[in-house]
Amino acid sequence: MSARIRRSWLVVPISKPEEIARAARSAADVIVLDLVEFVAEEDKPGARGRVEAAIRTAQAGGAEVFAQVDRELFVADLHACAWPGLTGVIVSQLESAQQVADVDGLLADLEAKRGILPGTLEIVAGLETARGNQAAYDIGRASARIWGLTLGRADLIMDLRPEPSGEIHLMPYLMQRLIAVARALGAMAIGAWWRAPARGLLAGPDDTYQAARRGRAIGFTGSPCIDVLQVEPLNRGFTPDAAEVAAAQELMTAYRAAVARGVAVVEQGDSLVDRGSVTQARALLDRAAAYAARDREKAEMGARPPLARP
């Protein structure tokens, strides 16, 4: 399951059909239909009725589709979202294992009622509060559906503000904690290492790319974003670049030659190549190949570059 390629998670409000259509052409790996943050409270009932159609629209460019649901409104939201074609749900502001169990149980019911293969619908746990982060490990163990963990908008929900250094207060700690917990669970950590002032809603393509590269360096595999122009920098930032691939190939070649000579350690430049570095190089090449295959798949599905911003 963790082999899924999910570098860019473009979040769009379900209440904005034109944005969903635009997102479908954005080359995002995942489109997140949001029922939480970007839909005004009074528009939510109407928006819930549009999810089934929105899933089909969002899939047109080859993206997987998640729905972002409100933990406090999860019964109404899951009924609105759990339709064939949906890959999973991001549940915002989870704070306990019991809440995950409740979501898991309702997803199982809805799968049975709506002709979805049991266990199909995945959960990404949104850990956006202090309690949620405190209970991260228990939350992550509470359901076999948990595919990933994300801090989501923790910086805003926990009111974490920029430090003089540009780091968002407490985020370096929370990111590393999340990643360690996720890997201990065999799950993925979703996010990027944003720095003030160019972050989140206001980050341009270059800052988004840097946030993705820093994020990849500490263990994130993909990140949410809010603007179609952030999709390409995220895809690129989370994908090994040509120089990294070339270096990995060179390393593999040197290692194979060494093994043929009967040794499993070889000097390459001033570094030493052994099984550890080979394992890493092979993982990087596998990932690069899988990303390239995913990009071809999306291209075949008719994804187009995003429209220029008006």
Partner: protein
Amino acid sequence: MAWRQVRRSGLTMPVVTRRFIDHAWRRGCDFINLDLEDSVPPHLKAHARSLIKGAIPVVRKGGAEAFTRINHDYVHADLEAIVWPGLSKVNYPKAESADEIRLLDAVITRLERERGIRPGTIEIGANIETAKGVAAAYEIASASSRVREFGGGSGYDMSRDLGVEMFVGFEQFAYGKGELELVARALGLQVRAAPFVANTTGSVSDADRAFREAQAARKCGFRLGGGLNPAVVEPQNRGFTPTAEDVEDARWVLERYRELTRTPDTWKVIDGRVIDGYEAARARDTLEWATLCAERDREKAAAVLRTRTAMAEPMSPASGVMRGDA
């Protein structure tokens, strides 16, 4: 927010040093922390205890709250000597277990009743200064409702316990500070934390640094200060108090947010800034804090005026406590 205390600045001072205690009220502090611990030599501990009851009203003459830092190893003797009307908080150093906090709570509860103090008045400051304290942080912070602010995780004791160096110019306490802050937030306590500002000198009297640190902390959303040297009091008061421009900016944000709520959008960008519910909440927080700071400054100024009048001493601009009244 239920929390109404304003604790931007405070001095920790040995209760045995008479001239510090006598002049404490002139410093403009929001609180004074009377020390029985590291600044009092062992042979003077008993004498120091006997001074606390008299020192409490003396250090409060300028409107400051009075705290006492006790000794980790002399809880009973120290508490018997310090829990008197006028004390706001007992600071307990090197807290390492929930049992310690429960013991403090039980003794303070009894003493409050015996001595006519409204039950629950006296806070416990659970100071985490060791690795064991970090490991037990959640249990410690949730052991008593008297623990109302929590955090820390750095300082000389922690540095000695962990074997890390002080004043290295990078954040050497990232893990422990993160743990403690997460615990404080998870329990809904007032967070004692600060953004990292490199300090390679260890100076305790650098007024410019104190101001920069306080300002950076306030911009990060933090409110709790304190120090060891009178030179940092006024810079901390100033750095933690929102400026007139901050207040004006917060009003502007709230006005833009009110306009936004009349549209179907949940956010928009104005002049390169995001306006949304989160920014509105921060703006309300700034306005509320500015009001609390102004109230606190008026209280302190009134207390200083009363004291000077009683002493027939003329007002002096040097005290600095009138600043917030302007």
